[in-house]
Symmetry: D2
């Protein structure tokens, strides 16, 4: 199974990059499943129903989230019907939280389980993502060996720990949240594809996809400034392609994808 | 000027990787300056005089540090004579701290200023690295246009902010500390080479260069466990090569270097 | 000199407590100076010009702030003319920040220097409050020995450190920010009055002066909830009275004041 | 039931204060149960078997812990036999952790459930103390209405949240960890005794019971310094007395106790 995973799509520029490049990416890589992290899709903060539906129209199969899941209030209105959205699974009191943390997608004859977990280092209080991941994997294994984990976390140590912990249990553990693609994609010894962070998809000449001036001023003065994603500008798309064995679910290949003005996509 | 910068050398395996590959790196890339981050050289925690001297013997020109600078007590004994060590420059009360945060190295007819700054997000209390960086750059500019900054920080936002802030002022702003190489090396519009993190040099099949079991257990139980670097094992070397204009100091090129069992160094 | 200091006045209920009890407090304790922490005066977030002027009308001599200084945008409009407001003095780049961190108040023939410092543990990135405090004290000493420090901080360790560090240099070091009065008021050996936290002035049956339900829900679910101060309800006033030697500025007495439905103010 | 609870006993001076004053406290207040927080008993870091046994000899009924539970390795050796020690109950993976988080003590005909919970704000990753508390209370209620909770936490907001959340469910929710006694003891509307922090028992002229110099230096320089508890010196004892209805378990009274050179214990 070929899985294309697009990192944190941020604001209008990120949406445009998906719109402009997804057709080419599909043509070149022929992914059977397209997953996208959408926690920053709506001007950097959460997602709206309109954006969600546009992603589906473009062929996205499911959308993972992260610490910005609830930033846009609109999600509360449509999450119960949004059968393609996956928010972090490891809330302490998961029953109290709208939405779900794992979905099993059917693609032709294949089923793929997609799990969203969040780290805890510098991320707030959540349930142990290792144990919760184990539980969800056990549940998924009843239906499929194809298990994809978006591990949304800040600390590289926690992400590498997740990679090693789920090695041999999941098909892929790929990180999101730092918005910077890492150059460490590899297949771990027991067959799990791993990359610390896929990177973000959005405004290229900013900070994490946002206008840089307000962020620099905030770092320098500690004063409140308004962080915004621009309406237009040079864009970047960060993604990775994972290829797994159709039967065992073991990863055969992981390939980072980076498209921006310095690294043009060969078509 | 060609500058080779090797990321956080960790423990015995990291030292061995430097020992084994530096000759080849020198032969292939012909760097005029070799800088190395040594904050984890002594079993993951600081540096000793013995290790420091071995690095110099191998041709390292100077050694930057980070949040682990003082982990090995030995440094207090030799830092005042260690004219090739640079610890973070932006301590709040810099006068109370042993060592210096910038050094100007002379290589043939060239001078290169090397600056070590630490970020503050999730890193503790330090002076504003932006202002301190400006002050040191102004001081360095009296002698040279070649200015290399090792920005040791956790948050990608803070590192990107540093890249943009020093764009056009420094020849290069490259990050360390996360121990994972990022795939975002670029020349910023005003001529500064930038990479969010160079990555670490050490044990490849661990977490940040350390044995993985104790770290995973600690994440899962919050119990005290002892983090260690192994004495031997498969190694990784992460580095970057920056090439600058001899006169203006502007970056012409930045190239990430990754050597490990999955990405063998072409010799 | 008798100084009455009222802790973090929070929202409408806090304003009402000041309005209702300040006359009695003045009558009973006959303070020559009245200082109040106003960082939460406007519905828990910052202060407005209207509230500021009401405090002055009621006889407040000056108003210290804290981490919530800039929460209400109105302050940006009037701070330059607000000669009775003191925001934290230890911003990294103090020149870039509106307002001042110390004021010297004249009361009859006496002058009292009032300083606002913020701690750094769990509080963000600020300049060393110990060094900045030393500098401001040196400056104040040219005019007066009466030096009052509102040390706005979270960690008890940092506040006790400030107490000991400024012992003999300041007349009083009293803490704010935790919104809970501590039972440790004392005169330190060299003559500085100290109390870890004065406590807050506002809604008694909530959490830190705010409605409790949203806060509990947020702790339990990590979901966004709106924290609010109620418009009315049972109130609490927390304060302390410091008495200093008119000449030396040394503290002679420090007395906590707590008024609420369980601890009625004797009138 | 009269319960005497002594706050974080720190180092030799703390042990001595317990030794010297417990007989008087017993005589004056006639508590039926004596609980003590012992997380700092062994030189500020954890507890040893020797100290544990001395506390029992002196009449202590049970010992709660906190974030410093495992600082002294000795505890691992004796915790399974230490039937009077209670460590925080809300570990994420409680089954992996030695010891227990609740004990039911029998005193004559009465049973008292003692629960140790830790907060999460600034404290690390733990399970939701509210839900875990609910579960333990439900379990305890099968045997007794007398339920005492030591809520070990940093943030006043989280402690007040715990007080309100368990109001009417527990006999008492008293805080520890900040080492400074708060002046806010009260009976909440539904009958739970509450105090944000009981304070610590140990060296009076230091910072949180430790020598002040090293801590101040660390705050000022960010350099490693060794925090130590002194062998002797002026001591402080912080405690509270809670009195509950023998049948309902509802609190009838809560009284803070503070003994130090400024606040001598009336005997
Ligand atoms: Fe994101
Ligand atoms: Fe995120
Ligand atoms: Fe490092
Ligand atoms: Fe580091
Ligand atoms: Fe406040
Ligand atoms: Fe505050
Ligand atoms: Fe403690
Ligand atoms: Fe503690």
């Amino acid at each position: 199974v070929k899985i294309l995973f697009i990192g944190d799509v941020s604001g209008t520029v990120g949406q445009k990059m998906v719109h402009d490049y997804l057709p080419q990416l599909r043509q070149v890589y022929k992914p059977q499943v397209i997953i996208l992290n959408g926690e920053n899709a709506a001007e950097g903060r959460g997602i709206t129903e309109k954006i969600y539906k546009e992603f589906l129209t473009q062929g996205v199969d499911c959308i993972t989230m992260g610490n910005h899941t609830w930033d846009n209030y609109d999600l509360f209105n449509f999450i119960e019907e949004a059968t393609h959205i996956i928010r972090p699974a490891n809330y302490e009191n998961n029953d109290l939280i709208p939405g779900v943390g794992m979905r099993i997608i059917k693609i032709n004859k294949q089923k793929i389980a997609v799990i969203n977990l969040t780290g805890r280092s510098y991320m707030g209080s959540f349930d142990d993502p290792f144990r919760v991941g184990d539980e969800l994997i056990a549940q998924a294994k009843k239906e499929t060996n194809q298990i994809f984990i978006d591990f949304h976390a800040e600390a590289t140590s926690e992400k590498q720990a997740a990679g090693w912990y789920f090695d041999g249990k999941a098909s892929a553990v790929v990180g999101t949240h730092t918005h910077v693609q890492t150059n460490d994609a590899r297949i771990l010894p027991k067959g799990t594809a791993y990359q610390t962070d896929v990177g973000m998809t959005g405004f290229y000449n900013g900070i994490l996809g946002m206008e840089k001036e307000a962020i620099i001023e905030n770092f320098r003065t500690q004063m409140p400034t308004r962080f915004t994603t621009p309406e237009s500008g040079s864009g970047q798309l960060n993604a990775c392609l994972v290829e797994t064995d159709d039967k065992t679910g073991q990863a055969k290949k992981i390939q980072p994808i980076r498209i921006d003005e310095d690294t043009l996509f060969m078509d």
